[in-house]
Amino acid sequence: MEEEIIISGRMNYKVDPTLSIWGWEIAFYLFVGGLAAGLLFFASFYYLRGKEKDYPASVKWAPMLTPFILILGLGALFLDLHHKLYFWRLYTTLRIESPMSWGAWTLMVITPLSIIWSATYVREVFPKWDWKFQWLYDLEGYFIKHRRVLAWILVFFSVILGIYTGILLSAFNARPLWNTSILGPLFLASGLSAGAAIIMFFSKNELERKLFSQLDLVIIGVELFFIIHMFMGLLASTEVQIEAARLFLGGPYTLPFWIFVVFIGMVLPGLLELLELRGQKIPAMIPVLLILVGNIMLRFVIVYAGQASRYLY
């Protein structure tokens, strides 16, 4: 047996003994970014399919939340920065090689668009709403006329936003757990699932609830498939990747991952939705909450476990 002991005189803050440069701020942002992406995707997608009247919760009501959650997410991102007053440097350049750079630009596009999208529906959702100024009414009229263009841009950028939250992490080859290309699609699917859950919660229309319940079931299936795929990929790879997979297979993140992310966040709500589709009465609140908890936990577990995974000497 060969053993190697490493003693290092280094104790840099947030780097040693294990990396902890990214905390709850990033995990929270990845969650709300994915959720906003899911909500905006369904809103614009069903608008483009001409289902505005059939699925009002998805097209009109749920997107009302997105400006708020995006701004919360941006706030968390800002808190994460160590050199806060220089944040504007993000917007002096576009660096294609850096996912964080084009992610920042995507947020710059999608946040105002989400505000505009919600504003064009605000008088339908809240009939007593008054814009107070004539020019705001004129602006509203202009955007309502061009809703189709807005929807096309939103469909495109919401998918980018959803997938970028995963790519942000998978671009780091120094952290073997993150360094898997399945993370982008997994986070996109997870964001869509959270979006569908929120829409189910808001919907008062039986047809819409059923559609999103079925959609959610399919997405959960896809997520589970991605997770199995992720482990297959990691375990069939090099030693550092196998070590990374072990964090979830007996390592310190086993319980949070399999109990909170997979069982509580995917399997259980999936079963409840299945029962509901079979005719059982289950309060919508329960699967919705479970899905959101699973979603948050997925981001937290991946962000923290990824920083614990490393290259071996």
């Binding site: 002991i5 440069i21 120094a174």
Partner: protein, 177 residues
């Protein structure tokens, strides 16, 4: 021109003089370091082998920290030296997460800090502080593209290893073994 460093692990005794010299020369805040000592023991008792390494930023030719920087604050200067421009750094931590050597740290002033190969001294024709101070003369710094530089000669003459090359970084620290 390509700056590189060779570290003679047969001569290094792990005294940490290089760490202290760097902290003083570069006014590194208390509790942080840009270079550090790694001590490894390998083998099975009683046949053990001890190795000391003075480590720092590897100034990778394919630097992941430069690639993932969203503002361009992390950049490559003359001679392939990887530097951070504090005026452009937002302190997002992406470069810290991207470095397989964990060679970067968040400076208390907000920006990300790291080894510069003492480029301010090198431009004046001097050697990096760690090289100057090493009591066993185990550090060699110079232009690897120049076949007559000390570092080139050492790499040519001796066996060496580079760390974590499987991370695809093309590191520029050569550990003579």
């Amino acid at each position: 021109m390509r700056y590189a460093m060779a570290i003679d692990t047969k001569k290094c005794v792990g005294c940490s003089d290089c760490v202290v010299a760097c902290q003083i020369e570069n006014k590194v805040p208390v509790g942080f370091c840009r270079d550090w000592i790694v001590e490894t023991t390998s083998g099975t008792y009683p046949n053990l082998e001890l190795e000391f390494r003075s480590e720092r930023c590897h100034h990778c030719a394919n630097a992941p920290c430069v690639r993932c920087c969203p503002t361009g604050a992390s950049h490559i200067e003359e001679g392939g030296v990887v530097l951070v421009n504090p005026e452009m750094c937002i302190g997002c931590g992406a470069c810290i997460a991207s470095c397989p050597y964990d060679a970067r740290y968040p400076h208390p002033d907000g920006y990300v800090d790291k080894c510069t190969f003492c480029i301010h001294k090198v431009r004046k024709g001097e050697q990096p502080a760690c090289v100057e101070v090493c009591p066993t003369n185990c550090l060699y710094f110079g232009d690897i593209d120049d076949p007559n530089s000390e570092v080139s000669k050492k790499i040519k003459k001796r066996k060496y290893k580079r760390l974590k090359t499987e991370a695809g970084t093309d590191p520029q620290l050569y550990f003579l073994i």
